[in-house]
């Protein structure tokens, strides 16, 4: 880029976006080679910043943020964390059998259970095992009986339980109380173990403001039939 070309456009024109795309590209090439042009651009931006008061504030629909957070974080937070924790699953079947006695779902009504409402269980565990919950679906109440056996919410945060099936967005099942045991209603769509993942995230008091996990996903577990 010759000095002549530098003179052709100035940084003010570039900052104001007066130039056409080809000229903008040419200026950017020149700027890459010439640090003084970069300084000039920053100087123009600071010089013009007083005009920013002329941009009024406009209220934004809540769903815009929800969608943004989903686009940015959903896949990486829940699914990536999930796939990276495959090793947790290996122990699940055995653990599930052991837990059978602990939670006592053997006493769930057997013959009275409606068809398609099999008992299933999930062990939701943090990678470092600092948080551990057992969740068992109880068809007699249509809910998950949850027992927290290790860990708790970080200070000032609450634990929120999520259900994930396939590629669909996580659905909140509710907040976990500070008590170790609770029962949360389980929507019809999640009353089968096949492909069901349960996850616990930490959220601000009152739960995720967006409808999707916003805090760290602390623990994750696969549902398995008993």
């Amino acid at each position: 880029m010759s000095a002549e070309t530098h003179d052709q456009y100035n940084a003010g024109e570039y900052v104001l976006r007066l130039l056409d795309p080809a000229e903008e590209a040419a200026f950017e090439r020149a700027m890459r080679a010439d640090p003084s042009l970069q300084s000039e651009v920053a100087t123009w931006l600071r010089g013009l910043e007083h005009l920013n008061i002329s941009f009024s504030e406009e209220s934004v629909r809540r769903s815009v943020k929800t969608q943004l957070m989903e686009r940015l974080f959903q896949e990486r937070s829940v699914r990536a964390a999930f796939w990276s924790r495959l090793w947790v699953w290996r122990g699940i079947t055995l653990t599930a059998l052991i837990l059978a006695a602990v939670i006592g779902y053997r006493s769930f009504p057997g013959p009275a259970t409606p068809p398609g409402s099999a008992v299933f269980i999930s062990e939701i565990v943090a990678e470092d095992e600092s948080l551990r919950l057992l969740a068992a679906y109880d068809p007699s109440v249509g809910g998950l009986r949850i027992t927290r056996t290790a860990g708790s919410a970080p200070p000032g945060r609450v634990l929120e339980l999520w259900a994930i099936v396939g590629d669909a967005a996580p659905v909140s099942l509710g907040l976990l109380p500070s008590s170790a045991k609770t029962t949360l209603p389980l929507p019809e769509a999640f009353r089968r173990a096949t492909g069901l993942i349960l996850a616990v995230s930490e959220e601000p008091p009152g739960g995720s403001p967006t409808g999707a996990p916003t805090g760290a996903v602390l623990a994750i577990g696969e549902a398995v039939d008993l």
């Binding site: 100035n10 590209a25 600071r46």
Partner: protein, 178 residues
């Protein structure tokens, strides 16, 4: 406010999603105002707003070095994103690249403080311009009009506009550096 935003951007640069959420809450109405003014359409402005914050999430680590106030940095990204959308230029990389290059060479923090305290000069300096030229600068900055748009709006040949606006920008630059 400014210190708080700087702290939030610093935390966003470290991948802190809570800080990102708080930064969004603190700034989205202003940035939406920028997008809406330029695009004049709520749905497009909402898309531009999301794109803006996605860039903020990716480029927060480049904020510290660029010497701009946090709001100016955020508004610059919002404004460029909206203008790109307005012009249907699908080269988001260029704006990303600009954000990147801005961080390469900025003033020292001391210079930035001086510059910020003098930012109000633009109003006085614009007043020194021919009112028509000052209006054109405002249209370009606030509404995203290019030389071509101004030529249509003012029904004046593009090269004429370019000649007098470049002269006006030189006066402005000279005034602001006084």
């Amino acid at each position: 406010m400014s210190d708080n935003l700087e702290r939030l951007i610093g935390n966003v640069a470290l991948g802190d999603r809570k800080a990102f959420s708080a930064l969004y809450d603190a700034t989205c109405t202003k940035l939406f105002g920028v997008a809406l003014r330029i695009l004049n359409d709520r749905a497009s402005a909402e898309d531009a707003l999301q794109e803006t914050y996605m860039k903020v999430w990716r480029h927060a680590d480049r904020y510290a070095a660029n010497g701009l106030s946090p709001m100016t940095w955020l508004i610059t990204i919002a404004r460029n994103t909206a203008i790109d959308r307005l012009r249907r230029v699908q080269s988001a990389e260029d704006v990303d690249a600009m954000a990147e290059r801005l961080s390469d060479k900025g003033p020292s923090p001391e210079q930035a403080v001086v510059a910020r305290s003098e930012a109000g000069r633009i109003a006085r300096c614009l007043d020194e311009l021919d009112p028509k030229h000052a209006a054109a600068v405002r249209w370009a900055y606030l509404d995203g009009l290019s030389y071509a748009d101004l030529a249509r709006k003012l029904d004046t040949p593009l090269n004429t506009i370019r000649t007098w606006l470049r002269r006006a920008l030189l006066s402005l630059q000279e005034c602001m550096s006084r």
